[in-house]
Symmetry: C2
Subunit: 700 residues, 2 copies
Amino acid sequence: MPRQPPPPEWVQKLQPSSPQGADLLAAERAGSGVNVDRLAELLHTREVLDKRAAIEKIVAAEPVFDKTELLSMGRVERMQRSLARGKKLKQLQKQHNWSFEDYKVANTIAGEPTTYGLHDSMWLVTLREQGTPEQHKLFLEPALANKYIGCYAQTELGHGSNVRGLETTATWDPTDKTFVLNSPYLTASKWWIGSLGKVANHAIVMAQLFVNGKNHGPHPFVLQIRDLKTHEPLPNIYVGDQGPKFGYNSMDNGFMLLNKVKIPHINMLARFNVVDPETSEYRRVGSPSLIYGTLTWVRSTIVLEAGAALARGVTVATRYCAVRRQFQDRDAEEAGLKTGETAVLNYKMVQQRLLPLLAATYALHFTGRGMMAMYNANQEAMNKNLAAGAKDARGAGPEELNPGAELLADLHATSCGLKALGSTIAVEGLEVTRRACGGHGFSSYSGIGPWYADYLPTATWEGDNYMLTQQVARYLLKTARQVIDGVAPKNETAEILQFYISRKDTGVANDVLNNDADIVRAFAWRTAFLTLEALKLRDKEKKSWNSLLVAFWRLSTAHSQYLVVRNFYDAVFKDPARLAGNVGDVTADVLQDLFRLFALNTIENHAAEFVTSGAITNNQLTLARVKGVSNLLDRIRPHAVKLVDAWSFSDFLLASSLGRYDGKVYQDLFERARNNPVNELIFDPYPDSDVLIKRTGAKL
Amino acid sequence: MPRQPPPPEWVQKLQPSSPQGADLLAAERAGSGVNVDRLAELLHTREVLDKRAAIEKIVAAEPVFDKTELLSMGRVERMQRSLARGKKLKQLQKQHNWSFEDYKVANTIAGEPTTYGLHDSMWLVTLREQGTPEQHKLFLEPALANKYIGCYAQTELGHGSNVRGLETTATWDPTDKTFVLNSPYLTASKWWIGSLGKVANHAIVMAQLFVNGKNHGPHPFVLQIRDLKTHEPLPNIYVGDQGPKFGYNSMDNGFMLLNKVKIPHINMLARFNVVDPETSEYRRVGSPSLIYGTLTWVRSTIVLEAGAALARGVTVATRYCAVRRQFQDRDAEEAGLKTGETAVLNYKMVQQRLLPLLAATYALHFTGRGMMAMYNANQEAMNKNLAAGAKDARGAGPEELNPGAELLADLHATSCGLKALGSTIAVEGLEVTRRACGGHGFSSYSGIGPWYADYLPTATWEGDNYMLTQQVARYLLKTARQVIDGVAPKNETAEILQFYISRKDTGVANDVLNNDADIVRAFAWRTAFLTLEALKLRDKEKKSWNSLLVAFWRLSTAHSQYLVVRNFYDAVFKDPARLAGNVGDVTADVLQDLFRLFALNTIENHAAEFVTSGAITNNQLTLARVKGVSNLLDRIRPHAVKLVDAWSFSDFLLASSLGRYDGKVYQDLFERARNNPVNELIFDPYPDSDVLIKRTGAKL
């Protein structure tokens, strides 16, 4: 929606200097034999791609989803626009009879979190999973009908990661059979609660349950917080939006203090725990193991999405670096040749930054798939056990749960480690892609910055990426102890530890440059080495847990990298004939090169660990660096544009001048720039005058 | 400036749960013998500290400099506020008779770039340095009087780093003795030009000078772009603001296209080059070597400021991590002890992330000082030579200039390498400090995010940090060739190469854990090793320049790290008695520990290079990791808060709830949150209703 009239004719006639971006991208695509359609289907399936396209057509037609306008808005205006977008998405869902999956796709295409984000997820999920049938009728039904707009209020001003440290209290009052919700301290204020700030009229409040003076730990309570007609906060509830953030500014993350607010007995979600209204007795009545399943599912989703999250930035940067030309080749210039300027993507330094990230997008995607398969297998096993009546969960930690306990422990550790590694790779990689776009990467029209800022909290929420590594280390140490004691379960983790122990003295003799399976073994070897080192420090040398946190972080990272490499290996080497049948020989070969690049580049970045653990030799490391990675960059370079094309992001989704599919980078940047609202003002520039605006509504 | 009335009494009575932040920071300060005042004087001098305090008093009293309000504003409103702030700063300068230095201090305290940023710097500097006396009278005088508000228009839509690739042309027309400025392509549009978008009425335009069909390369021209009264663009000039950015949104970076705009002969800045108006002959008339000096000075300033830039984030995170408590110690908990929650700063994983960055702030500060001393020595030498009449500069590159050529080449390479390394450490470190603040780090009230976004372009401007590394590598290779040929100048770079060559076969036998001088030697050894490796690849194996870019980047990083470590070493070990006399024994010891931590942590992060180069042994590496760094974290931890206090950032400057000097973190976060302007709205939350705002002006 242009705000400015067309520019004068002399401007309209100007073209970018040649070569044109469109021709450059066309040449890139002509120069690679990668089968983009087949590869896209391998990544997404044809069905999903078609569905997405259909939904995008509907979303993109609505003016409220214009993305350029958002970038210049202040917080108040953005919040209003976010509400308008949220409403429109829900209206479209109704109108087009979208499934919840379709609706989520539409949200992704619309491209920013809306004020209903937490209503749609944690509010509904928690009511559904932790409510009784009676509570479903009372709360879930009006919630599904969008009468009760809700949120999930767990985190507090003073406590995030440590849920057991929450300060909000829910005290059972047997005299009138109510719970009294209260914030005894300022630090008990709920904080960071999405959808609470402005929109929610209900909340699940996590509060320490006190019955007869005894604290039973955090439990979920349903609380109405705003009037259903006036939308004003109810008495003794001090609630509001918590202000501007680094990103995610379309969400009304909020705070809330409670002053002895009474709620009826029915408002404590009671599927797993109840307070008997007659006897005031506190009882467990069900197994909460499915809830652990949910947390694992959330983390698995983050793993699956990390590849796509990073791929947005890689797509933009790869296309732009194929269009952008800067400097003549130095050797050619010194030889007196006139070759014209070089595409930035041809510079080795740019390839070294971008192509391993391109490889990482595929690595994370296949790992996410593997993770989801593991999750589904676990759910199946658990449901079988639950059906068989196992209900003896203690709730102290997933590995102590009976149903499918070993699989669950492995799944829990895997999801923690991969969530931390996957989102760290994506977050840090996005900033690398932004910077690889040079100066224009700093413009919001690059599309990377706004996306980075919105994606960034993923590194902190659902388990801080550093905190989570302790879970992984704990699991690895435990498995190592079991292996040493000969009581280990049969699983991947135990196997790599057993292999290492059996070969420790003879060494592993990997040939990482010539044998792809040996690459995976080198990663497994390193994990096993670091696990046993850490075990020695903890069990033999009795080092404090705190003193080992850095070692645990390294260990978790190493193990998670092994899992990614192994999943990628399985995807491209386990059934190469089938892969080639699906995507064609050329594409299959390139995917295998991507595997090698991801793995060798990771080895290089953690070279000291690989060498000191004996996973590879010093000599192999030098070769991997000089020959391996460098050759792979050369081999993958011609396919880079098609490899990002296969991710199939639409221009509407990317909202990026630099990442346009057609390469018309400069025209688009110029068009957006001239239409930005600041250009409707004429300023008075003289410091002696206090006049700021000389004229509004200016036309360029 | 609260927008909301005081909260209800029950909210006002709430305190954070104990222990209180104020008590915790007081205890931190009581527990360390570091002399904050003396250390602050060592960093800044008493005079500067007093001056700063006086200026801050004046700035902070002006409502227009309120910082919290800015964070919620949209781009249009922010631009207006930025102009208002810029004007106020200039008015205060006049009113208080501030020197330019004082005025710059006031800008720093005000805390964001204003629309006069480029007027004050590149516009004035270029006129002064490249104008003739006649041009000074014509342009510089009205510029200094703030009548001509200017900018420096070099970068274009299609060309940033490669200045020689600029497309804007200035064609000499002998018939009417004018230059015709023209944008032949859309990509010739000026872009990223600070102060051009809205405020400047003049610009220095860098354009390819064509005389008689011959291109003489980019030259500077003065162009009036807007009417001095109406402030509307002049005919055939299409100019505007380029839109929202990741940060720096208070600056009107702009675009500009020119349609055969004629300017008089006098408008080409003619101190170094002229076109004879009578004969149309193009001539060099002066040595531009001082201009190279300016570029070096700009980069030196970035090095000097990188330490302080990072220190802002480190200050916030260190104080907040000393206040924030999360989880009980795991061993204590398992032992059944009730010790209460642990300060986050006590966790080894947090120390490992923060304390090396704390060390880096000091390392970069002392390096910046060293760099400035080197710059001043060079200026002195050059001025002497210039005075002696040396005027034979070719302008092709600083090392080809006569006056002080060798020193200048060294200075040029040093400033390139250190600019790249310093700003990279600061940029990446700021994000680490933000994340170390957990969830609250994501709030704009942390103060880190907004500062990070504004500081971020430093990694790209004044030479992209990756591009610059080629300059360093080129210099190192050249010096290595000279050393091998026995014709090297006497300087530090030649010395470390000579030492390496003389000891190559016997090895270096460094004792990095016990001898501080050996730490420096290990860094020098690694630089020399990598230089000679790269030289072999380039000269013997005839590898292409492009294929070596990654090796050059690593080499430049290694060399620059050596320079930082050497500068830090000099600052704390060269005259330890004097240092102890200045700051006291305890503080001097801690500074020496900071040196060790910075150096050993850097070794660990680049372990493979140190080991494969033979700078240290595998065994030393393991010890450095396990014993060295870990022990240093323990030793430095008690002094962390006082070490950031010494940086002497005021609360006004930091604009951070989390980094408050008094530790009243939670009160401040709450107060800012409730007063954010979103809370003046009541939303209608129902998706079926298209109403967004139910009521404005709401009070909590």
